[in-house]
Amino acid sequence: MSARDGLSPFGVTALTLGFAFLYLPIVILVIFSFNESRLVTVWAGFSTRWYVALFQNQQIIDAAMVTLRVALLSSTIATILGTLAGLALARFARFRGRTLFTGMIYAPLVMPEVITGLSLLLLFVSLDWDRGYWTVTLAHATFSMAYVAVIVQSRLVGFDRSLEEAAMDLGAPPLKTFLVVTLPLIAPALLAGWLLAFTLSLDDLVIASFTSGPGATTLPMRIYSQVRLGVTPEINAISTILIAIVAVGVSLATLTQKRQLVRRRREEALARRA
């Protein structure tokens, strides 16, 4: 498909409508974050005062720090556990109950968050754990590890086992083989899984509401509770910052990947010609 195919009037209309549907709400939110007025719906000139106010709002900053800490730790735990589960699913091809196990790994992906949150809450209550930072972290690791497992498993399906056999043949015991051959080669999947788990934790409101406690209010929880008292331009400002962070991150990741792919293609073509 060439780029010229997209220039038909129908294509242009479809594209405009589609993207408008997706991005209009976000664009409005970003514009109004720079509004001078306290009223969210009335434009009164450009200003960055809500960004200044934001950085003086200790509650928001605290919530952001909690969210960041929870996301960093929970996504790391989820990546380790999810990788192990993904390995088991991809590698032990014929153990008993494999289908059941696979289904159970996938279940959290489709389970309503309310149910996951509620069941975790019941667990923590029955264990008599104080709800707070640790319980949110564990809860986030629990539901996001399923995503990591799926990503790692799909990467391993296309993995050339003879690479591991070659390593063992050359004298590397199984654990060493895993560390120096398997792990570096599936690292992109691990990174993708980690980023996904991180984003999921950053976004989550429902499960955090069930499993968090005093002193561990996450940013989505804070935003939600403030919005219930009325939307302020301050909320627009924090949302704009979040959007910017995510957009920059995604663009960087995509660009690096694309660059690597192009370089690799060129080098392969050179090698073929030689």
Binding site: S162, A166, M168, D169, L170, G171, L185, R264, A271
Partner: protein, 382 residues
């Protein structure tokens, strides 16, 4: 055969010397996968310095046998010994064996030099020595100066050479090669076959190669084993297997052949007479066989051992088939004549094209006589 025969080698034939001790021994080795027998009671001795081929169609068990030598599969029954040591409890990473994989299995996240150094690093060898030996290997496979490249920056032939270097750098007692040249184009493959032989002779390492390409097996091997359905059907030096196939399967798998069913008329010490109605003739072969008169058998002829003439050969009633030229396959260096015998059977005759095409005397629809020497055919009893 368009292939040049291998250079004569100045080597002993340990398999004919009762005093020599085998280097690699397989004793009654069996293996099955999910009830399917892959390798069936294989007993095999391989001697030090051999270039041994396991040849057979896909699914014949040759790769499983190779993987058992490497340690990736465990035999269900039987025993494998390398240089006198039992290998049953030895994992792949402790065997004095290295393997070159069909896919080459080069580590994509390491440079060429790191790939070659990998095995030495596992043995805890000093950095300086690793560097020297990697350079030696790069020189051996003519890849000097390319140590910094990544596998994806190499051509197929270069990758193949890196894989070979990586497998050789630890100076294994045994090098296993799984279809090492299958991914190369024909010209490069033929060139590489001779290169492999020369490297093997220089290093003196025992090679076992798995291949489905009979020309490749014949070019490189000291001896070859033809396998089918998990068993070794015939074992011998390439010329022996080609000239004296032990069974119809071997005759048909190794090279091109005409096979005719027949019955033994007479078998004596210095010759066997067979009536082959399908060929419409009696066949005399100058080797005696221990078979009863009237026993069913088959005779096989290689197409290049048959002669074609426009005149009937004088004073001969045996070893002659009369027919008409049905088709000619022109291959450049030689032509394959498909001759339809009076009995209806199709006989393939290969003639070297010593003259140019236009000057060849025999052409389509010609009436011809196929004849051969008493030493040309082989009696197949199975």
């Amino acid at each position: 055969m368009s292939q040049a025969s291998p250079q004569p080698r100045l080597r002993l034939e340990p398999w004919n010397d009762p005093a020599s001790v085998p280097y690699i021994r397989l004793l009654e080795v069996s293996k099955s996968f999910a009830g399917q027998t892959a390798v069936d009671r294989v007993t095999l001795d391989i001697y030090k310095g051999e270039f041994f081929s396991l040849l057979g169609p896909s699914g014949c068990g040759k790769t499983t046998l190779l993987r058992m030598l490497a340690g990736f599969e465990q035999p269900e029954r039987g025993r494998i010994e390398i240089d006198g040591a039992d290998m049953s409890a030895v994992p792949p990473y402790r065997r004095p064996v290295n393997m070159m994989f069909q896919s080459y299995a080069l580590f994509p996240h390491m440079s060429v030099a790191q790939n070659i150094a990998f095995g030495l690093k596992q043995d805890g060898i000093r950095k300086q020595e690793i560097a020297t030996r990697v350079e030696e290997m790069l020189a051996l496979v003519r890849m000097e100066g390319l140590g910094g490249r990544r596998p994806h920056q190499l051509s197929g032939g270069q990758r193949q050479r890196v894989a070979l270097a990586r497998a050789l750098v630890k100076r294994p007692k045994l090098l296993l090669l799984d279809e090492p040249l299958a991914a190369l184009d024909k010209r490069l493959r033929e060139h590489t076959q001779f290169e492999l032989v020369s490297i093997q002779e220089r290093l003196g390492i025992t090679f076992v190669i798995v291949t489905h390409d009979q020309e490749e097996a014949m070019t490189v091997s000291t001896r070859m084993a033809v396998m089918d359905q998990g068993r070794i059907r015939q074992l011998g030096v390439p010329a022996e297997v080609y000239e004296f196939p032990a069974s119809r399967f071997v005759a048909e798998f190794v090279g091109d052949v005409n096979v005719f069913e027949g019955r033994v008329v007479r078998s004596e010490r210095d010759g066997t007479l067979i009536h082959a109605p399908a060929a419409g003739t009696h066949v005399f072969i100058d080797r005696g066989h221990d078979v009863a008169e009237g026993a069913a058998c088959a005779v096989a002829f290689r197409p290049e051992k048959l002669a074609l003439a426009l005149e009937p050969p004088a004073e001969r009633a045996v070893n002659v088939i009369e027919g008409t030229v049905f088709d000619i396959g022109y291959l450049g260096d030689m032509s394959i004549y498909h001759v339809k015998a009076a009995s209806g059977a199709m006989v393939r005759v290969a003639l070297a094209n010593r003259l140019r095409l236009v000057e060849r005397p025999i052409t389509w629809e010609d009436r011809v006589w196929i004849s051969w020497a008493p030493g040309a055919g082989v009696v197949l009893l199975s």
